[in-house]
């Protein structure tokens, strides 16, 4: 079912998603209507305040279709969507690159009028909660969401018997961890199960990109979860992300490049630097997930590469980071084996092509990417400087080892 977002560049929007603070967010289903001033008046009269058919969505699900009738004039058809407000539970990891996904997803859902509970693994008092995005969870609470902590295996008791429409597991990497959540979701009557998997499960290929349906590594933990979902849940979707940037990230991504660029240090990249990877702004992942929640039939039993629609080379990423920082960059290539370093420790990205495209999301959900690395990295650099990380003293042991082996001078 397609979502119609009636957007107008001209004035007089009566209600809009961006001004969601106009509505006290509650967990009951309130109807919210969006009007475009350009809408023909006769169609506006089709909707009354009592029919909960509309949700203005800030994500890219706008679908105002115009067809020609036999008089030749346009008729705006709005598909009434059955995307009523959902109760969503997010089971979120307490660390790592994927942690930030739950944070953005929660906020976007809340902005769209859905109800959200986020269950973070572990304890609220743990040191891990002092890092982003967890140290910003007040933003979820003030938007009307609930935050709880505990062991996902005990999810039922942690949420106190509450029933959810949608459950997202953004935590487990294997069936042992996710199964209790899936089983509880099923028995408690959740209608849709979403899983954050990984594009890392694709088998290496001569023919990029990784496309949904391509062969995956049979022994990968995430694959075990996907298989179990396929067998046991009536409406599931699995999302395979790659790397993300975005404020609130728990794991360094672009920061690795900024650290070196801002200190005028060479940027050591293993191999040719031509390796392609996909670095998305986390808002892309959030918008894709939100679309799946709002179009459950379109998302049913599907796999989605949860990435932006552009890949970037490792060299390119270094250059874009330097441009964002307004500084030059000195890229140095090396062979990890020859130098004697473990590439996984020395460099934050995979040393091969790691490139998936979001074809299923585009086709099935009508999703589109908004990642704009050149622009997004500028924002990220601004924050990098704002928090004073450019002044921080950092040890570059592995870098130094590499540069020593290559006899590359480093400024003092």
């Amino acid at each position: 079912m397609s979502m119609a977002t009636l957007s107008s560049s001209s004035a007089s929007l009566l209600f809009s998603a961006s001004s969601s603070n106009l509505f006290p967010l509650s967990h009951s289903s309130t109807s919210r209507l969006s009007f475009s001033s350009s809408l023909h008046s006769s169609t506006a009269s089709l909707f009354s305040a009592s029919s909960p058919t509309f949700l203005a969505c800030p994500s890219s699900s706008s679908r105002l279709s115009a067809t020609s009738n036999n008089d030749g004039g346009p008729v705006f058809s709005i598909s009434a969507s059955a995307a009523e407000k959902k109760k969503v539970l997010i089971v979120n990891t307490n660390s790592g690159g994927h942690a930030v996904i739950g944070f953005y997803f929660a906020k976007e859902l809340l902005g769209s009028g859905h109800s959200v509970t986020i269950l973070t693994v572990g304890e609220e008092s743990s040191d891990k909660m002092k890092k982003p995005p967890f140290n910003r969870f007040s933003e979820i609470v003030s938007a009307g969401g609930s935050t709880v902590w505990g062991n996902p295996a005990d999810v039922g008791s942690i949420v106190g018997g509450e029933v959810f429409d949608v459950v997202l597991d953004n935590n487990g990497k294997d069936l042992e961890t996710v199964r209790p959540v899936i089983d509880w979701a099923k028995s408690s009557g959740a209608k849709q199960f979403l899983f954050i998997s990984s594009a890392g499960i694709y088998k290496l290929t001569d023919e990029p990109p990784h496309v949904e349906g391509d062969t995956v590594k049979a022994d990968a933990g995430h694959v075990g979860v996907e298989k179990y979902l396929e067998e046991s849940f009536s409406n599931w979707a699995s999302f395979r992300p790659q790397y993300m940037i975005g404020s609130g990230n728990n794991k360094d991504c672009e920061e690795w490049f900024f650290d070196r660029i801002v200190r005028d240090r060479p940027v050591p990249i293993p191999g040719s630097g031509l390796q392609l990877t996909n670095i998305s702004h986390v808002r892309d992942l959030s918008s894709m997930l939100t679309l799946a929640v709002e179009k459950p039939e379109a998302a049913r039993n599907s796999i989605f590469n949860c990435v932006s629609n552009r890949a970037v080379t490792l060299n390119g990423m270094a250059k874009l980071c330097a441009q964002a920082a307004g500084r030059p960059v000195n890229i140095v290539h090396y062979d990890p084996k020859a130098v004697g370093v473990d590439a996984k420790k020395a460099f934050p990205f995979r040393n091969t092509h790691f490139y998936a495209e979001p074809r299923a999301a585009q086709t099935k959900l009508g999703w589109s990417s908004t990642t704009n690395l050149p622009e997004d990295l500028k924002e990220r650099f601004e924050e990098y400087v704002k928090i004073g990380r450019d002044k921080k003293t950092i040890q570059f042991e592995l870098d130094d080892k590499i540069l020593e082996a290559l006899k590359v001078p480093v400024p003092v």
Binding site: T67, S68, N69, N70, G72, T205, D206, E207, P208, P209, V211, G271, S272, L274, Q275, L276, N309, R310, A311, V312, T313, N315, G316, M317, K319, L320, T352, H353, E357, R359, Q362, T363, L373
Partner: protein, 384 residues
């Protein structure tokens, strides 16, 4: 002659027949127009649901600039089969028709009896203008045009042209660290293919209904650009395959038959009006991967790949490798989502088709030349 038909909803599901159209054939060499039963295609209707005007996709008078070498050879056959009257504009240096490998005698006879030829040099702009305006074509496919000046006389000659379909090139895209190239991306006004860009701009400025297709590397039987042939020569000779730099550079091939189908797909298609489409294979491929795919296609054992630094060598004017030494690939998502176009060939299937119908039968365009290989390999192999 009614080209556009207004149809009431009750007629929508019927098949309408047109009587064969008369056309002036006097200038054309010997071919008789044979019009079989002309029918609406259901697909056209479905694609244009709700739209008032439907152009008959059959029985158009079509001119192909070129058409005797590679793309046009396949495109012209598809168009003739669909019932169009197709004329090829060429200098006549190559035979107007040649039987394709795998084509039956009867199919070839049918095609050659229907295809028309307009002999001329497209660089003679006055002749182009006068000969075309005398004929009055409905649609022009420009398959071999390189410069905008070559297209002007065509547009001048045919003010009522329904559609100008241009074979451009993905080579117009500005090199980028962000890939794939999409139709909305920046183009390079200094590229080797800037004539294609200038042609696209001309089409945009002239108000004609145009469609531009940007292929990447085209391959398939009869390919005159030694793309797959370059690999097949080496595989057949049992030679190692020298690949510049890392071999992980990503390129993209598109089968000529899929490209021809795409050209037909945009004919009379509202959704293609004034649009650009990248057309190529669904998946991309690394240089190393392409060598392996060619080996699979020809039934050769997995090849030995030798990587070298091209900067260490001076090959003079010779090309040591048939691809640009960089990533170069384009997204075909627009053609899928807007046109619903789907490729029939994947890479290994397509290379197999090319091998079975061309190189594997002992035919190729360029003799094997291993001189640059030998420079790289640092020795001369005596050919057995």
């Amino acid at each position: 002659m009614a080209r556009f038909v207004a149809v009431t909803p009750s007629q929508q599901n019927n098949q309408l027949s047109f009587s064969p159209l008369a056309s002036s054939l006097s200038d054309f060499s010997g071919a008789k127009l044979q019009c079989s039963q002309i029918q609406f295609k259901r697909k056209q209707w479905q694609a244009k649901s709700g739209s008032f005007y439907v152009s008959a996709s059959s029985n158009k008078k079509i001119l192909i600039m070129g058409g005797t070498r590679f793309i046009g050879v396949f495109l012209s056959r598809l168009l003739v089969k669909e019932g169009h009257q197709v004329t090829l504009f060429t200098r006549g240096k190559a035979p107007v028709t040649q039987q394709l490998p795998g084509e039956s005698d009867s199919d070839y006879a049918d095609f050659s009896s229907k295809i028309l030829h307009l002999k001329g040099d497209r660089q003679d702009f006055e002749f182009v203008k006068s000969s075309l305006s005398a004929q009055g074509f409905d649609v022009v496919y420009d398959i071999n045009g390189r410069e905008a000046v070559e297209v002007e006389p065509i547009l001048d000659a045919l003010p009522n042209l329904e559609q100008f379909i241009y074979c451009s090139s993905a080579g117009v895209y500005l090199k980028s660290d962000l890939l794939p190239h999409a139709e909305v991306d920046a183009v390079d006004p200094k590229s080797r293919h800037k004539g294609k860009l200038e042609t696209e701009s001309l089409l945009q400025s002239r108000g004609v209904n145009w469609t531009s297709i940007r292929p990447v590397y085209i391959y398939g039987p009869l390919n005159y650009n030694p793309v797959e042939e370059w690999f097949f020569h080496r595989l057949k000779a049992g030679r190692p395959i020298p690949i510049p730099s890392s071999g992980i550079q990503i390129t993209q091939l598109g089968h000529v038959k899929d490209l021809a189908r795409a050209f037909v797909h945009v004919l009379g298609n509202d959704k293609a009006s004034k649009e650009i489409f990248n057309i190529a294979g669904d998946k991309y491929v690394t240089f190393d991967g392409l060598a392996r795919a060619c080996a699979k296609a020809g039934g050769f054992p997995e090849p030995e790949l030798i990587h070298y630094n091209p900067k260490d060598y001076d090959f003079g004017k010779k090309k040591a490798f048939p691809f640009r030494d960089q990533h170069f690939f384009a997204s075909v998502e627009k053609s899928k989502s807007v046109l619903g176009f789907e490729n029939e060939f994947d890479l290994v299937e397509g290379l197999t088709d090319s091998y079975n119908l061309d190189f594997g039968r002992g035919t190729y365009r360029k003799e094997a030349d291993f001189s640059t290989d030998d420079i790289i390999l640092g020795k001369t192999l005596v050919s057995v």
